[in-house]
């Protein structure tokens, strides 16, 4: 982007030592991510290392004894997509949170600030009440449509404004409240006990319904979204100084904001449609990473993605085992685990 070149003087050129340190961070975080993915596949019923080896080996054409069909499908069709989806969703939410915190200059901003998740739950509730929830596309599709409708409304409400921070936040809150009310209305008017239970579970977020299709969709959207947001990282740095400074740095504030709002909303919509509204990740992970590597988005965004991914992979692994064979919605654990971790980071930084 052109702005990136203009911003270069503001961002001091890294010294060689710093550069090697950040290279080390990248390598280290990727290693942690890969190890987390592999180890967490092992966590849960029915999948020991031997079984995982046999499932993988059979697909790689190695001479191994294939697993019984159901056990194989447990590992390959349920566990693996689930772990990958947790990583993708965690990354998407953390990146959206980081971007929105900068756009709105609000430390409390998270991916659900724009009302997208409320729209998604309205869509999901309508689908459940109308009785299409049996098919997987039903709930996910309904949620996606609801999320996009909510975001469309947000854009319509914002269309004549200068997209300043407080207006984005307030409009987002209004849209969110509207759709939350619609959700309750639909539930109360026609939901029976069963659909209410299904929706409550879904609202708290659960990765139990992860399948390869949702992994593929999330992977494509995340790759594209991450790239767009990362290309805007210089502009995001600029926003930190306020709109006037950002404009004087040569950033087209309005256009960049629209691009970022659209991107984060689509990312959030896809994530919420896939697993429900998993809280906390998008709010806290960017803060934690900012403490570790500083506020520059060129580093903050990719590292937030990795940390968000690792965090959600591990919390989801916990939901599989802590109350086994019952599953707790993952949203419950993200906060239970996240709060102490966050406090630890604060304390390490001497801010508490």
């Amino acid at each position: 982007m052109a702005e990136a070149a203009l911003l270069e003087p503001v961002v001091a050129t890294p010294k060689p030592k710093q550069r090697s340190r950040s290279a080390l961070t990248v390598v280290l975080s990727l290693v942690v991510l890969v190890v987390s993915l592999v180890v967490s596949v092992r966590i849960g019923v029915g999948a020991g290392w031997e079984e995982i080896g046999r499932a993988a080996g059979a697909r790689l054409g190695l001479p191994v004894v294939p697993l019984p069909r159901l056990l194989d499908s447990l590992i390959w069709d349920l566990r693996l997509p689930r772990v990958l989806l947790a990583a993708l969703v965690g990354a998407a939410l953390a990146v959206c949170g980081a971007a929105l915190q900068s756009i709105t200059r609000n430390s409390l901003a998270d991916p659900y600030l724009l009302g997208v998740s409320s729209g998604a739950s309205t869509g999901a509730v309508v689908v459940v009440v109308l009785g299409f929830a049996g098919s997987q596309l039903g709930l996910t599709g309904g949620a996606l449509i609801g999320a996009l409708v909510a975001f469309g409304l947000l854009l319509v409400l914002l269309r004549r404004t200068g997209l300043d921070s407080s207006r984005i936040v307030l409009t987002g809150v209004v849209v969110g409240q509207l759709f939350a009310a619609l959700t309750s209305l639909v539930l109360l008017s026609s939901g029976d006990a069963d659909s209410i239970r299904a929706i409550t579970n879904w609202l708290l977020g659960s990765l139990a319904s992860a399948r390869w299709t949702s992994v593929a969709v999330c992977a494509v959207v995340l790759a594209a979204g991450l790239l767009v947001v990362w290309l805007c990282s210089a502009a995001l740095d600029g926003f930190a100084f306020g709109t006037d400074t950002a404009s004087s740095l040569g950033i087209d504030v309005r256009a960049t904001r629209i691009v970022l709002l659209v991107t984060t909303s689509v990312l959030t919509a896809v994530a919420v449609a896939a697993v429900g509204a998993v809280g906390f990740v998008g709010l806290i992970v960017p803060h934690g990473v900012r403490f570790l590597v500083g506020p520059l988005h060129r580093k903050l965004l990719p590292l937030s993605a990795v940390v968000g991914a690792v965090f959600l992979v591990w919390t989801d692994a916990l939901t599989r085992v802590v109350f086994a064979p019952l599953e707790v919605p993952v949203g419950v654990f993200t906060a239970l685990i996240g709060v102490p971790l966050f406090l630890l980071v604060l304390r390490r930084r001497g801010e508490l």
Binding site: G134, D194, P325
Partner: protein, 325 residues
């Protein structure tokens, strides 16, 4: 010509001998059973040996058919298993005390999955019926859960028994169970009763009563016993009602579900009765003042092998109130 002919004969004999071996019997030939279950056609090459049940009603039905040795696991127990089945139940692994998810279900390696409700088969619960079918696991859903508009719920329940009998090769036992229960129905029906108005209060959740509507077992039980369900105009199995509406419909008899083992406030029959006695409108009902209340275990009001017990208790209760029993 005689030589090839004799060879052909020998070949037929060998093939026939091959078919007589156990491997031959497993092949999906004339032996295989085809059953329609809630919109899906299930094919069984042999009798299942590792059935998994997803809820208490399915569990108890299979136990009533003496199939405990063919069960690899159960899930989602609502209340205590009937004492009749407690011993058999104790020998089967409990895969999940509540709704089972797809991972533990597949880890149990079932060869058939039995459920009372289609809603269990979603990706975030047991996995979809199509997914399981693709893995070679048929999914049986109770016919009670799929109203066809013509068959009464009890008849659909008996159709389940018949299907289980064919699937598991226990037709005799299944026929006997259906006949016994049909006889119990006829026995209750045989008594001539006044057409009293009855309300079935299943549960009270957060102060709101859930009553029997048109679709369910309770509605049919009322008819069999010659009574009239006052909420028969509501097109749901257990619709939410208000106490005022119950009072307005002025039932002659109140049936109260006892869900003591679930343990939420308002689950015990006595708690529901106390609540009604405190309510300004309901407490004025003649049925309540004259103590025309029948208590029935809540689990038996839902479609299961135990529903017939609720019917017997209901009939006996009506007779007692009418001064006959």
């Amino acid at each position: 010509m005689s030589h090839p002919g004799r060879f052909g004969l020998a070949l037929v004999a060998v093939l026939a001998a091959g078919c007589a071996t156990p491997e031959g019997a497993q092949a999906p030939t004339a032996q295989s059973v085809v059953v329609d279950s809630c919109g899906k056609q299930l094919t069984f090459a042999g009798a299942p040996q590792r059935a998994v049940t997803l809820d208490q009603s399915s569990t108890e039905t299979l136990l009533a058919l003496g199939l405990q040795d063919r069960m690899a696991g159960t899930a989602n127990l609502k209340t205590k298993v009937s004492p009749k089945f407690a011993d058999a139940y104790a020998k089967i692994p409990v895969l999940s005390p509540k709704v089972i998810t797809s991972e533990p279900l597949r880890a149990a390696n079932p060869d058939v999955v039995v459920s009372s409700f289609q809603e269990q088969f979603t990706p975030d619960r047991a996995g979809t019926r199509d997914e399981l079918a693709a893995l070679g696991v048929p999914t049986f859903v109770s016919a009670v859960n799929c109203p066809d508009g013509t068959t009464a719920p009890f008849e659909r329940l008996f159709r389940d028994y018949e299907n289980f009998g064919r699937i598991f090769g226990a037709t005799e036992k299944a026929a006997q169970l259906a006949n016994d229960q049909r006889a119990a129905l006829a026995e209750v029906q045989a008594v001539k009763r006044e057409p009293v108005k009855v309300v079935w209060v299943y549960s009270v959740f957060k102060g709101v009563p859930y009553v029997a509507g048109k679709d369910g077992m309770a509605s049919q039980m009322s008819k069999i016993a010659g009574a009239v369900n006052v909420f028969d105009d509501v097109d749901q199995e257990w619709p939410e009602a208000s106490w005022e509406e119950i009072a307005r419909r002025d039932p002659d008899v109140i049936v109260v579900g006892d869900l003591s083992e679930r343990g939420n406030p308002g689950d015990k029959a006595s708690e529901k009765i106390a609540m009604m006695r405190e309510h300004p409108a309901v407490s004025q009902l003649k049925a309540l003042r004259d103590n025309k209340v029948i208590e029935i275990p809540g689990i038996e009001m839902d479609p299961s092998v135990r529903t017939v017990d609720a019917l017997k208790a209901f009939g006996a209760g009506l007779d007692k109130i009418a001064g006959r029993g």
